[in-house]
Amino acid sequence: MKEWVDGLVEGSSLLQSLPIEVSYFLAMVFFSLVAVGWMAICALFFVWLERKVSARIQSRLGPVYVGGRFGWAQTPADALKLLMKEDLVPESADRLLFNIAPAIAFMATLLTFVAIPIGNGLVIADLDIGIFFILAVSSLGVIGIIMGGWASNSKWSLYGGMRAASQIVSYEIPVALSLIGVVMIAGTLNLVEIGRGQAGGIWNWYLFKSPFLFAAGIVYFIAALAEVNRTPFDLPEAESELVSGYNTEYSGMKFAFFFLAEFANLFVISAVAVVMFLGAWNSFLPWQILPGPIWFLGKVFFLVLVIMWLRWTLPRLRVDQLMHTCWKVLIPISMVLLIGVGVQMWLFPGN
């Protein structure tokens, strides 16, 4: 961002007349708005896509009316409806925390958008600790969920919040462990550097660089699904058991925040998977045919589609099965894979 602003300032006489701080401030505001807008667009598009995919899988039509063809305006209309709804706060709820919770959940997702590169160098904040930053701030969302669950003063919400806490904290471990393998091979935490390291054909993608990383990619995918509460791991908001869990008592705008964050999280986990395993913005051929962002968004789109496909295929796990999957299957496997990557690097140095 700094380079971008510096370049812009040098090119524009209007900006040169302003103090450099003002330019930076304007750039910050601009990029925050870009991140928010990007997140909102992603979420709205994914909500629509989810409805269409679920409809197709169930041999239905899905939304068709609003906005002409394919009902593309269905989710903007829904969002508008949510924004205009009455903002209810349960009488016995803890008003302060109840109001803060959606903001925290939203912020956690929004912060991750700042660090995701959609092209070579196309990133709002080119952080040296990129992937670590994403892992760190995405663990914030759980606080918002627990807060909302507790502050609602409803048993369903509380159960949802507690389930979310145990689930997300547990599944963070396999997520991190499976990503560390890539970090080891790439030798950097910077997402842009990691993306650059995968240029030059599909065989350079980290997913296909080593059998251990292939398995780690699958482990990551499963664990990431659980971390953002997607089916088959959507226990914190299980409609049939918990009346949609932690957001039972939420309505209107605050619910929209939770909802937005949830669907934007789909983009985040898919984007991380793409950057870490699927060659980021690089094409699968040795030369780049289309611009990077198109490749990147195409891959993310495909992964989101797979996630939705999974959601409408699999039933929900039981709580004990969930914990069993994490602690007894995914964590040991990801640890073994990590060791395997290390051994591979030791046996074949420089590869």
Partner: protein, 168 residues
């Protein structure tokens, strides 16, 4: 960033840290303490960023917020009657405690402002991750290994202690 902005950001993070820290120490409702701790951790992470310790800031957020805070929340929720919103946390001996703490604070401030700190010339921000990794694998390898053994022991011990004793 210029020094004024930096100072403003520093003051902002400092205020967040201290105000929420005060809420942690003084709030009557225990759950407010826990959630105020979230903002304290955040403020401290912000201070780390200002000190060019980005890796530490991310570690702070990841482990404190994502791990310890959730653990504390579990602790609160599993050890109280959580069906009601009001979770009181009694505090006692406030007077003497305030006296001691005030005295200690005065002493610390005296030390802070009287000591001639050997402040070096501040360099530009440099990536820290690689150097931290090098230190961990060279100079502090023993400490690193010991702490990993400690973590393992904690993992086993905590699981053993917290489990339901069904086999007795």
């Amino acid at each position: 960033m210029s020094d004024e902005i930096r100072l403003g950001v520093f003051l902002g993070f400092g205020m967040i840290t201290l105000v929420s820290g005060a809420v942690v120490a003084l709030a009557r409702t225990i759950i407010y303490s826990v959630f105020a701790l979230l903002f304290t951790f955040f403020g401290v992470a912000g201070l780390y960023v200002l000190l060019h310790a980005d890796f530490l800031a991310a570690t702070q957020v990841m482990i404190y917020v994502g791990g310890i805070l959730v653990l504390l929340l579990f602790g609160v929720m599993l050890t109280h009657k959580i069906a009601t919103v009001q979770l009181r946390s009694a505090s006692m001996q406030r007077g003497p405690a305030a006296l001691i703490c005030g005295g200690l604070l005065a002493l610390l401030l005296y030390v802070i402002f009287k000591t001639p700190w050997p402040v070096k010339e501040l360099g530009p921000a440099t990536p820290t991750v690689q150097r931290i990794g090098r230190y961990l694998m060279t100079d502090y390898l023993l400490a690193f290994e010991v702490i990993s053994v400690l973590l393992f022991a904690v993992l086993v011990g905590a699981a053993l202690m917290a489990r339901r004793e069904t086999n007795r």
